[in-house]
Amino acid sequence: MTTTPESSELTEEEKDTVGLGNPPVLADPKDTVLSGRGLIKTFGRVVGLDGVDVDLFPGEVLSVIGDNGAGKSTLIKALTGALIPDSGQVYVEGQEVHFRSPQDARGAGIETVYQTLAVAPALDISANMFLGRERRRSGPLGSVLRMLDKKGMKEAAGQSMANLGIATVQNMGQAVETLSGGQRQAVAVARAATFATKFVVLDEPTAALGVKETGQVLNLIQQIKEKGMPVILISHNMPNVFEVSDRIHIARLGGCAGVITPRSHTPTEAVAIMTGATTLEKG
């Protein structure tokens, strides 16, 4: 808890480039929403994470890109409790945490949206939104009979959807299977945005979607960011990443090939760094 990484004393020059470069200039975990330090995860002889450092700053969208097997999913899983790192520390708002399961991370206010459309199709929007954390009615109907507050949950679900500008879906009692793929993912993203208190992780949220639906989800990411909620986006799709990100963490061979911004580099350069065709110079 007491040991903070060596980066706590930054030079004037480094203060302008904090969070960027190769290796990235690290911030003090007290100033970040999430920090990973020296994360190592091996699977037998396969190295999943080779001592990765990562920072997520308040109010930003951080994208994690990388080739298949570069370790981006492993990194996210190690940060959100889906995997337990062999070594290294994870800090949430400066406090070291030890997530043992995704439930632990959720309990700490971290919500994850998965690539697979993680909604139950036959249940309605409101039920999916509150799945696993249903609200009960007040009074003995809730405490003794354990009745659900269906009306309250429907209203709250409608409110969250409206807050994110999802106006195409009106009826919260509509079964999710009657929605399009993009609308279903919107429900999952809205759920994450509603219940997250620290940050939202979106794991390839547009991989299964068409162009127009992808646009809807990117819009949602902007909306979440505007509400001040930080987002980690894992994606293969360079145009998407460059459209919404503040910073881009490039995973490569279990490590980090550098952190760039959409202003400092072009998508082509990002792909080159990602594949190892070029390396990001120090500084």
């Binding site: 993680a118 036959a122 249940l123 249903e134 009979l145 354990r146 509509q174 759920r191 819009n219 960011k225």
Partner: protein, 345 residues
């Protein structure tokens, strides 16, 4: 950073197409999708009207009372079966557990001198344990429910036969409490039994829990998409284990109702219970693929089978035609389920 506010674009051709008037068939599909109990309700109403036209004796209170009594045991087992099928499972050990429970309570009371009420409670507890064993095998060993309950069907039947020596326990050997579910009750001219009331109360309680509580919602979610449920933090194994255990409780209580209904506890009772309970659940509109269905539908499904049995016999038709009609209804019900699954917004 630019915020993209979508302008109110005029509808594209595809959106215009999506907004077109629905055909009557699509409306029916939508109605059935949101209210899956409609189809069994219609089948029940139409068959009651048809059988009454064929033979007016059908609608008499005496006939209706007999139907309710005949249906009670299968309906009770089907309530437990509904819970299991909602989780995309299947329970082939329903009858075996009910018989094991009934033989245990009857033998304890008749041969070991255990007080009636205590014997009933022990018998029901055996049902709970048997259900918990099913649940443990499904969740711990990750075996398909079909295989687990196919195995426990034989195991529980064997235990019941070994324990009872294959002997039935007669009416005179049992205390009144064991036979209480056979007590007649008159509602106006309608003669039913306390057993029918017990089953009705179980149906109301389970229907309430499924529709109104978190646990009920989780049962649907697990059957609908177990992976999505796990990802939102539902403890899927716990839900499954509890479903099989609660089903065991319901089968145990049904064992007691069965003693009242037949006046004996016999290892040869309710031999067709497994398939009959699944038939009632399926005709009632519950999907064998999980996540979709209601207790109301199941009760309607059980009633439809009962109505066909008495109706066809009153119509002077050979009983084999009831079997034939049940088969047609099952295939029809699953076809309708497949069709309403394809509903689009």
């Amino acid at each position: 950073m630019t915020t993209t506010v979508e302008p109110q674009a005029p509808h594209t051709a595809a959106e215009q197409f999506a907004l077109r008037q629905q055909s009557p068939l699509q409306r029916i599909q939508h109605a059935l999708h949101s209210h899956p109990s409609i189809s069994p309700l219609l089948v029940l109403i139409i068959s009651v009207i048809a059988f009454t036209i064929i033979n007016p004796r059908f609608i008499q209170p005496a006939t209706i009372g007999i139907i309710l009594q005949q249906v009670s045991v299968i309906a009770a087992l089907a309530i437990g079966q509904t819970l299991v099928i909602l989780t995309a499972g299947i329970d082939l050990s329903v009858g075996a557990i009910a018989i094991l429970s009934s033989l245990l309570m009857a033998n304890l009371a008749a041969k070991n001198g255990v007080p009636g009420i205590l014997a009933i409670l022990i018998g029901i507890a055996a049902g709970v344990i048997a259900g918990a064993i099913n649940g443990a095998l499904v969740t711990r060993l990750k075996l398909p429910p079909f295989i687990v309950t196919l195995g426990t069907l034989s195991i529980f039947t064997a235990i019941a036969l070994l324990y009872s020596g294959g002997q039935q326990v007669g009416r005179r050997q049992m205390p009144a409490s064991l036979l209480w579910a056979g007590q007649p009750i008159f509602i106006g001219p309608l003669r039913i039994t306390t057993g029918v009331i017990i089953v009705a109360i179980m149906a109301v309680i389970v229907a309430f829990i499924l529709a109104q509580t978190s646990w009920g919602r989780h049962v649907y979610a697990v059957g609908d998409d177990a992976e999505a449920s796990r990802l939102v933090g539902i403890r899927v194994d716990r839900v499954l284990f509890s479903v099989y255990t609660v089903a065991g409780l319901i089968y145990g209580i049904t064992g007691w109702v069965q003693i009242g209904r037949s006046g004996t506890a016999s290892p040869n009772a309710i031999v067709d219970a497994n398939l009959d309970s699944i038939t009632a659940v399926v005709i009632g509109g519950t999907s064998l693929f999980g996540g979709r269905g209601t207790i109301v539908g199941t009760i309607l499904g059980a009633l439809i089978v009962g109505v066909f049995r008495i109706g066809l016999s009153l119509a002077g038709v050979d009983d084999q035609w009831r079997l034939f009609a049940t088969g047609v209804l099952v295939i029809l019900a699953v076809s309708i389920d497949q069709w309403i699954r394809k509903v689009k917004a």
